[in-house]
């Protein structure tokens, strides 16, 4: 007999497979998740081990070897496993939890920010997000029309590239009644481009000698999917990874408003189904439903970090001490390690190239333009705010 869904912790990603034809991992028990989670840990730790080994070897033999962050190794090992021997069934459910570890990592990352920093950098990020939004929505819509993609696919690509990748596409799919194939294609395009950005962004950042803050902000604003944005930041440096998450979280927080905007527009045109239109009766509930709740956890942990740094001993006693913050920061890094391994393990190179050229070209042209515009915005902002 099937076990009721509520009795099992379901830590799998909520998102459907990232490319057409992929079968989602089956619902599993906690025990069933363990092999996959163990694989994430082994692959992630192998990345960390290789980074450490290369550094130690270089120092011992007086070689100047490039310092490649463990993130890249973990992703590459994951891609290698998934695309050669493949991922045996027993690991699939556990590997699909990488999105859960990403969210846990982001919440715990709150320990590395005080609220003042979040407000300042979050404010700058939000301003840049709005400008980048306006640009990418307009540009992607124009590109989609020029390349004669369907209106649903164009909308999904526009939302995916301007808001937050996969989760935004899934949220919008329901609101505009797009079919599964359009959303799979849009997700595949966004993820393929995310994978490419992992290798290009750090190179551009180093070439321009960007600061950790400026680079992190850029990665968070331009890379679409949260896992890839976090990885692209961490590939540059630990600090850049932290700022990339902050900028990306600001983008994620806006997902509800963008989806609501599209839902209203589609309902007005009479293109949405009755079920999709009915959702709009209570707009506050709609916004809350689409709001990424883990952001609240991130803010709460950051609040406790801020209280702990207070000079008033009574207030400080409510928050975390410095060693506790270090411990939470480390927990966050361990959670991200599992995420990065998952990014590699779920990347199926064959699927990424199966999606058809036009959506990919539209996505790629859009992404290049968005990356260029956000880079200019960040460089401009860093001139004024000394990022």
């Amino acid at each position: 007999m099937a076990t009721p869904a509520t009795s099992l912790p379901d830590l799998r990603t909520e998102y459907p497979p990232h490319a057409p034809g992929r079968v989602p991992a089956e619902r599993s028990t906690l025990l069933g998740l363990l092999p996959g989670i163990a694989l994430l840990a082994v692959v992630g730790y192998a990345g960390k081990f290789v980074e450490h080994f290369i550094n130690t070897y270089g120092k011992a033999h007086h070689y100047v070897l490039p310092n490649i962050e463990y993130v890249l190794w973990a992703i590459l090992f994951g891609i290698l496993i998934a695309n050669t021997v493949g991922l045996p069934r027993i690991f699939r459910a556990g590997v699909a939890t990488y999105e859960f570890w990403l969210k846990a990592g982001i919440i715990l990352l709150g320990a590395r920010f005080i609220l003042g920093d979040i407000l300042k950098l979050g404010g700058i990020s939000l301003t840049l997000v709005f400008i980048a939004f306006a640009f990418s929505l307009t540009f992607m819509t124009w590109l989609g029309r020029t390349f004669k993609l369907g209106p649903q696919l164009t909308t999904l690509l526009a939302v995916g590239s301007s808001v937050c990748g996969v989760s935004a596409i899934i949220a919008t799919q329901g609101a505009i009644d797009a079919d599964e194939e359009d959303s799979s294609t849009a997700i595949a395009a966004i993820l393929a481009l995310g994978a490419i950005s992992l290798f290009t962004f750090p190179l551009i950042g180093h070439a321009l000698h960007m600061s950790d803050r400026a680079y992190g902000l850029w990665a968070g604003l331009a890379v679409d999917n949260t896992a890839e944005a976090t990885a692209a930041g961490a590939l540059y440096s630990d600090a850049a990874g932290k700022f990339a998450v902050l900028a990306k979280t600001c983008r994620n927080a806006l997902i509800g408003f963008v989806v609501l905007g599209y839902a209203i527009q589609w309902a007005r045109k009479g293109l949405a189904s009755r079920a999709a239109t009915k959702q709009l009766d209570n707009k506050a509930a709609f916004l809350w439903k689409k709001f990424p709740k883990f952001v609240l956890g991130f803010l709460f942990i950051s609040l406790l970090a801020t209280l702990g740094s207070s000079t008033n001993p009574t207030i400080a006693a409510l928050g975390f001490t410095k060693p506790q913050l270090v411990a939470l920061g480390n927990l966050s890094r361990w959670a991200f390690l599992l995420t990065f391994a998952g990014v590699g393990l779920r990347t199926n190179l064959k699927d990424l190239f199966k999606q058809g050229a036009r959506p990919f070209v539209v996505g790629a042209l859009g992404e290049i333009a968005i990356a260029a515009v956000t880079l200019l915005l960040v460089l401009g902002a860093s001139h004024f705010y000394h990022l």
């Binding site: 009721p4 869904a5 509520t6 912790p9 379901d10 830590l11 799998r12 990603t13 909520e14 999105e99 859960f100 969210k103 846990a104 919440i107 715990l108 320990a111 079920a275 990424p292 709740k293 883990f294 609240l296 956890g297 709460f300 942990i301 406790l304 975390f320 506790q324 411990a327 939470l328 920061g329 480390n330 927990l331 890094r333 361990w334």
Partner: protein, 35 residues
């Protein structure tokens, strides 16, 4: 008609686990492996 989902989201699980870990660290019961 679609059945309302009873599934608890990954967001909720992530918040529960993170806050539980934060609490355990706060009361000094968890020593995190250094990064």
């Amino acid at each position: 008609m679609s059945t309302p989902s009873t599934r608890i989201s990954t967001d909720t699980w992530a918040i529960v686990l993170s806050l539980a870990l934060a609490l355990i660290v706060r009361i000094g019961l968890l020593k995190v492996v250094p990064w």
